[in-house]
């Protein structure tokens, strides 16, 4: 938003967008974009996001195997394509199979004239590839997804979070790379003449010391343990009743980037070890 007070108050909403194509988006990130779409479509709708999103076309790319040991996409069911793209490419070795999901995708196929119609043998090969994938991708954590929300309810006071307190440097890297972290701060930037300026959003992170600090100096999550716990709950507990899904897409980036060596899979496994016996769902 831009404002000026030199002649009365004038306020101008600013929407920044450009037409672009995201190419080669893997299923974890497609899931991430789907999460963000849900968040920003809730009322009050975020028109900046929605306008920008409408100008972006997405071409997905299937993972035929794990990218590395940090990924946990099977746990959150994000290793297979489930929409959220215009076109989706699967590498079949000698050729690609492309799934057309939207009208935009159809137009790309039509106008490039690079594609042929797939016949039955191709589709059979795709089925074989997916079946093979089911043997490669196994639940990376020793817990059933349906047990996770209750597991989190039972481990709020767990020792696991205290251990994270000792390790975490509160650098915010895990949230900076997370495809579903969307928190921001609002900055007021006035011009030097103090007659106008702009109000804009800036990335913020729940891992940073001042994030939950309020007027008067009270900080609701002063301990790093509380902040890390909050991050995990924001992925595995809080979104479940609102959006009926986890907000972890299993991309593994938070684990990959953490210099303190906090690994999502390890944290979940530690919670399971400590709390799974308290989870009733396990017996239902």
């Amino acid at each position: 938003m831009e404002y000026n007070i030199s002649r009365g108050l004038s306020v101008q909403a600013v929407v920044e967008y450009e037409r672009m194509v995201l190419f080669g988006v893997h299923t974890c990130d497609l899931a991430g974009i789907q999460c963000l779409n849900m968040v920003f479509s809730r009322r009050p709708k975020d028109y900046n996001y929605l306008i920008r999103k409408n100008k972006i076309d997405i071409i997905g790319l299937e993972c035929n195997d794990y990218c590395d040991e940090f990924a946990s996409c099977n746990l959150v069911n994000a290793n297979m394509p489930s929409g959220g793209y215009d076109l989706f490419f699967t590498d079949m070795g000698d050729y690609f199979i492309v799934h057309i999901n939207t009208q935009v995708g159809d137009q790309i196929i039509d106008s490039t004239k690079l594609f042929e119609r797939a016949d039955r043998s191709h589709l059979r090969e795709l089925v074989t590839l997916r079946e093979h994938k089911r043997t490669l991708f196994r639940n990376e954590v020793s817990v059933e997804p349906r047990e996770i929300p209750e597991l989190f309810d039972k481990t709020f006071e767990s020792e696991v979070w205290k251990r994270l307190d000792e390790k975490c440097l509160a650098c915010g890297n895990c949230t900076n790379v997370c495809p579903t972290c969307y928190c921001f701060d609002v900055i007021d930037e006035v011009n030097l003449e103090l007659k106008g300026g702009r109000k804009y959003r800036k990335w913020d992170s729940c891992q940073l010391e001042p994030f939950a600090r309020v007027a008067g100096g009270e900080n609701f999550r002063k301990e790093r343990a509380a902040r890390q716990r909050h991050r995990y709950y924001r992925k595995f507990r809080y979104p479940v009743p609102i959006y009926s899904r986890f907000f972890c897409t299993g991309c593994g980036r938070c684990s990959r980037t953490c210099m303190a060596g906090i690994r999502l899979k390890d944290t979940l496994n530690a919670l399971v070890e400590e709390g799974i016996t308290k989870v009733w769902k396990k017996w239902l």
Partner: protein, 244 residues
């Protein structure tokens, strides 16, 4: 609106932070359009003994003369800004505090050392009430603008209380630890837009430590990368010796 009277003063420092203002380039004209500089020995010979709207104070307090002088400046100034690491956190002058005062005095001033008074190095906020703090060695020019604007508007403004890593990651730098180099980013206050790392250098911690650094976690990271602790502590002491 009458232009606020602004003066620059210096104590124990290299005055390099004041040169950052002179180095501003075009933005300097905009700044001068907003303020009336009445004393600034790096760029002008005029002096000013009257009341001040804003006093920029560079350097740290290292003897009783300095302490007296900063108190006088404080009395004359409506707003006092601790300017640069030496003023804000003690900076490199703080290294003196590592040694016994008498011993270091002898070492520096020789046999006639008793003519030269000295005290433990203190940052400006440790001596007088400070309204704004601009840390950094040297200060980061965009941050000066932010603080000047806040001072002119009378709004609050303090350097971010999270580590340099935050900005560094947003700038898409490869982590120095992944390159096998020890860097103070994880415990140092951000606000410089990871200036040094963007340019291929490590973070020297010049902006001072964050309020709640995870020393145990940092130690674990060092162990993982086989970096001896004293090596990093030495680096840390370069700027952080005045920390209480």
């Amino acid at each position: 609106m009458k232009k606020p009277k602004v003066a620059f003063f210096d104590f124990a420092c290299c005055e390099g932070c004041q040169l950052q203002i002179a180095n501003f380039g075009e933005a300097l004209f905009d700044i001068l359009g907003m303020i009336d500089v009445v004393e600034f020995r790096e760029v002008m010979s005029e002096k000013w003994n009257g009341q001040l709207d804003i006093a920029f104070v560079e350097g740290s307090i290292t003897d009783f003369h300095a302490e007296e002088r900063i108190r006088q400046i404080r009395e004359r100034a409506a707003i006092l800004i601790a300017y640069g690491s030496c003023a804000a956190i003690g900076g490199v002058n703080g290294m003196k505090n590592t040694f016994d005062l008498e011993e270091i005095r002898k070492y520096v001033y020789g046999p006639e050392y008793h003519f030269f008074a000295t005290e433990k190095t203190k940052a400006i906020p440790q001596v007088v009430k400070t309204d704004y703090v601009i840390t950094g060695c040297p200060v980061y020019p965009p941050e000066i603008l932010v603080v000047i604007k806040a001072a002119l508007q009378g709004t609050s403004c303090s350097p971010p209380d999270y580590p340099v890593c935050v900005e560094c990651k947003l700038n898409e730098n490869v982590c120095m630890y992944d390159r096998g180099v020890a860097c103070l980013g994880p415990v140092t206050r951000a606000g410089c837009n990871s200036w040094c790392i963007n340019n291929g250098n490590i973070c020297y911690g010049c902006r001072g430590m964050i309020s709640n650094p995870n020393e145990r976690g940092a130690r674990e990271v060092l162990e993982k990368h086989n970096i001896p602790l004293p090596f990093v502590v030495n680096k840390m002491n370069l700027y952080n010796k005045c920390r209480e």
